[in-house]
């Protein structure tokens, strides 16, 4: 009994020490197990991408200066985060066997961390309307597989830019007619607390089925609109 109590106290010491630090950790093995779901998904996913995402819990939290690194026994690799907190996840057996940690230079509780699926952007900025519908359907199907998105349907997709970005998003119908989409301020992804992005909603029902969406520059993210 005493021995267990002693062990318990010893174990708490590092935790208390960690609470004082301005950094937080995620067990690489846990992250790996979550991230591998997308890799193993066997249904169509050519329009999708999966990132490891640090999602802010506070709307005033900026991703500026936030660093994520993978710390193993003998290695330390910096992972690049985009402005939405997304990083390409390194699948590594060595890191898994090392029981490595993903370390972020912020206090615990400022982010939720985990897999984040979004629609891939195109370098030419031209998206066939049919492809965007397929992309949204693929994403919804994936969420169903992962046990989310129940009872929702694809209403459209949303292009997000940084606030102040002068980008334009237009819809070109099959007959060549151009319609400019309206922008508003909002979150890059539904449910995000950070709302300060310039977003263009492309609602499928509001446009003809055949056509193209043309973006003047590459958006930060293309998100599904699930309703």
């Amino acid at each position: 009994m005493m021995r267990a109590a002693l062990l318990f106290c010893c174990a708490l010491l590092p935790a208390c020490a960690a609470a004082q630090e301005d950094s937080d950790w995620i067990a690489y093995r846990d992250a790996y197990r979550q991230m591998i779901w997308f890799e193993k998904y066997g249904k169509p996913k050519q329009f999708l991408q999966n990132h490891f995402r640090l999602r802010p819990r506070d709307k005033n939290l900026s991703m500026e200066g936030v660093h994520l690194s993978l710390n193993g026994k003998n290695t330390q690799v910096a992972l690049t985060l985009d402005v939405l907190g997304r990083a390409t996840f390194p699948f590594s057996r060595a890191a898994y066997d090392d029981n490595a940690e993903l370390v972020v230079n912020r206090k615990a509780g400022q982010f939720t961390a985990g897999p984040w699926v979004s629609i891939v952007t195109r370098p030419d900025g031209m998206y066939a309307a049919a492809d965007l519908r397929t992309a949204c359907d693929q994403l919804l199907a994936y969420l169903h597989y992962a046990g989310e998105g129940g009872g929702k349907h694809c209403a459209g997709v949303q292009f997000a830019y940084a606030r102040g970005d002068a980008a334009q998003v237009q819809f070109r119908a099959a007959n060549g007619a151009l319609v400019t989409l309206a922008s508003k301020e909002g979150p890059a992804f539904a449910g995000d607390v950070v709302q300060s992005f310039r977003v263009f909603a492309y609602r499928f029902a509001a446009f003809p089925e055949a056509g193209q969406v043309i973006t003047s520059s590459t958006p930060l993210a293309i998100a599904p609109m699930l309703e």
Partner: protein, 252 residues
Amino acid sequence: MNKLLPLILLPLCGVAQAEDRTPMMPDGSRDMYAGIGLATSNAEAAGENRPVVLRPLLQVEWSNGIFVSSSGVAGLDLSHSGGVEYGPLLMFSNSRDPRDNRRLRGSHPISGSLDAGAFLNYYLGDDARLRTSLVYDTSAHGLRGEAGVQKSWSGLVPHHTFSLSASVTLASDPVMRERYEVSRAAGGARDYRPDGGVAAVAAGANWNWALSSKWLLTSGVAVTRLGSGPAGSPVVERRTFTTWSSGLAYRF
């Protein structure tokens, strides 16, 4: 059954495997927890004392789907798709002797055995899953089944995971009688012969605290209410009882 400590809660996507047979961990890797814990002894061992004891804590999972746990369970996950796990299961059950305790007078001696069966877990989404298992008890020569539901929350407080579970355990006639039948001729207080049915229903709560990526503190409490068959047996002292466990494990 020899449920010493609840299985350490792995992330719910835990041992699931998907279409292309890629394991949930790198090929050839394993995930192992080893440590020590305090626990009230067996919830199933009605009629026996339930002292607090120090127990080893071990859980290992390999990339080929094999898992073993110090709770007396071993199995192989054969699933080819995410969201579901199934496969063969081995469970160790405790031995018991009528001379162990005054209350057990007139009951059957039980030899510890290795019981074989199968398990099926189904993920409901939102960090909830259904868990079922069916095993053949090789000492009693009968079937024992368990069905339960578990829901966990990991985002509430960083590094803490909470879960709630509820389950029902069913036993066939021979399994029920091996444990709860009493005969006056063998020294029991009175003759008692239960039929198969609900052996117990239980509700539990579990709390895992990851102190670091290596150290995990796991604690659980469960309230068990025995079915009417066991409850009427002279070996059973209390129909409803609480068991708990707490342990510290290192992740290798």
